[in-house]
Amino acid sequence: MQKKHHTAPVNKVMSLKQAVAQFVQDGAYLSFGGIGDRTPTAAIHEVARQGKKNLSLVSDTSVSFVHDSILIGLGLVDKFEIAYNWGGIWGSDAVYRRALEQEIPQRIEIEEYSNLSTGMRFLAASMGLSFMPVKSLLGSDIPLHNTRIKIIDDPYTGEPVALVPAAYPDVAFIHVQRCDPIGNAQILGHIGDDDSLARAAEYVVITTEEIVPTDEIRRHPNLTCIPYYCVDAVVHVPFGSHGRGCSYCYAMDVPYGNQVNKAWATQESFKRWAEEWIYGVDDWEGYCQKIGWDRLIRLARAEQRYQKYGEVR
């Protein structure tokens, strides 16, 4: 499947509010990138703040407290395609459990894959294909409950092989360390599946720690895993992954996650948490203010003491 619209090398800088308003429709099929690291939390909060609903989500590894579960708990999600959704070190995700065990706040349809097969779904779409073969999933219960996975006899070897369908999100949000105004985005450290996701989605919103001049991008062309032609919006969002870390920029805020985990224990306290942290602020700047800039700077120092890109410290 080919792209329906064409992205030119022009200035794409806008606010997150504008990007979400412009690209996300009710009923959209969304994906939020990152792999723990570089979670586009600011974007997720803004989608929630604008009350976009009846969403379908597709993710590879979603670390709940800063990711897809926020939208699930708010009742904005109808369908969820996923390999892994959990709290990581923060433990059990009560919002997710309520949704799947008790259909609170509503029933969501779930379609499960593994990490590699999800990666293959984005890789297939990144190249305009409709499927990709994979040697995972075989013999497991995953394809029994997900009829979009097809187990076939490999036409070359005769052995069983699984096929997974391409995932073409309507909009992808990807948080990166640096991007120029036309959308050439560079990721340092963990890439996740974002190289493929940026190509798979019809519209791509990059949130970035730093907007750099194009000449800075040109110094390291091999780092630009997302060229401008994939990108529709460039949004400057420092600390846009707060809670999670952003390699070479700031460390995870583990105690924050612990607080959130606690707040999510019941649907009522989850809602209060959302009222306070999402709806109670105007935008991500308001959120940062509320978290405290001093705290954010300490997280940045903790990261940069160990890691500086291009240096061995």
């Binding site: 390999a83 990666g119 219960d141 995953i142 599946d193 903790a302």
Partner: protein, 294 residues
């Protein structure tokens, strides 16, 4: 002090599990491990008998040398001094190609052919208890050379057939795994807080290979819900060495993985300061560890 191979007796059960698991890794291997106790076990192996072992982590980093405590598979510090940071699909593709000798994961349930459940307990899709889903588990179980499993021993977790087969072990035993088209070698060992389990070469059924010190095979068997086979040579699990325990305490001085350190971090007042202290202190301690061991 750090070179002592003598056994110790002042260890916790988690430390025993991690030390036992560490022995499953071999030098020069490439290991695909999850975070928490599995990573601690792999790092203990690297700092003892496996100096040429390489650790790869699902987030995409290979051969890193982090000097800060890792809090998840994609904690930024796992990039630190990495040989390579690959896209996740590429790393998992490398595993499918057979570059990773050994992989280590956990599970909520296991059955007698080593199949794992990390998805749902009691029904699907509407589960009685929902857990995280496959993540990389299914991929690692499908393709890695040897699969290692680390989990808690409970009768309701060790069952005849998992409620949901997330990660293939030996499926229904015998050659069923191979017939399904799976490439990897399947489970090699399961390590719990009670013992070590391995698999019969032909039937592929799990058996008890050793009991942890102080336990009898029958006690372990009581915590397994099928008629568990006990190997005629079932031994007592080797205790941790002083060196192993010391390394673990440097890697996890606040018991975040192997103890109760996470509770301190959750304190709304002092949690953040404590966390900052943990991060900052780990630098010097781990730097020292690298220096001693290289």
């Amino acid at each position: 002090m750090m070179t002592s191979n003598e056994y110790v007796s002042d260890y916790t059960l988690m430390e025993l599990m991690a030390a036992t698991m560490a022995r499953e890794f071999r030098d020069t291997e490439t290991a695909f491990v999850g975070i928490g106790p599995p990573l601690i076990a792999a790092m203990v192996a690297k700092f003892t008998h496996g100096p040429n072992m390489t650790i790869a982590v699902e987030g995409g980093a290979i051969g890193s040398a982090p000097r800060r405590l890792l809090t998840c598979i994609a904690d930024s510090t796992i990039d630190e001094k990495a040989y390579s940071c690959l896209p996740m699909w590429r790393l998992f593709g490398d595993q499918q190609r057979g570059f990773f000798n050994v992989g280590l994961i956990g599970a909520a349930q296991i059955d007698k052919f080593g199949n794992l459940n990390t998805t749902a307990i009691g029904g699907y899709p509407r589960a009685k208890v929902r857990v995280a889903g496959s993540g990389g588990g299914n991929d690692i179980g499908s393709s890695v050379g040897r699969l290692l499993v680390m989990m808690r021993q409970e009768r309701r977790r060790f069952i005849e057939r998992v409620d949901y087969l997330t990660t293939p072990g030996f499926l229904s035993g015998g050659d069923s795994r191979q017939k399904a088209g799976l490439l990897g070698g399947g489970p090699a060992a399961v390590i719990t807080d009670m013992g070590v389990f391995r698999f019969e070469p032909d039937s592929k059924e799990m058996y008890l290979a050793s009991c942890h010190p102080g336990l009898e095979p029958e006690q372990v068997k009581a915590n397994v819900s099928w008629d568990l086979k006990i190997h005629p040579d079932c031994t007592v699990t080797e205790r941790p060495t002083r060196e192993q325990v010391e390394i673990m305490r440097i890697l996890d001085p606040y018991g975040l993985y192997l103890g109760n350190g996470r509770a301190q971090m959750a304190d709304p007042e002092k949690g953040f300061d404590f966390y900052m202290k943990v991060l900052e202190n780990s630098y010097d301690m781990m730097e020292q560890l690298y220096k001693q061991k290289s």
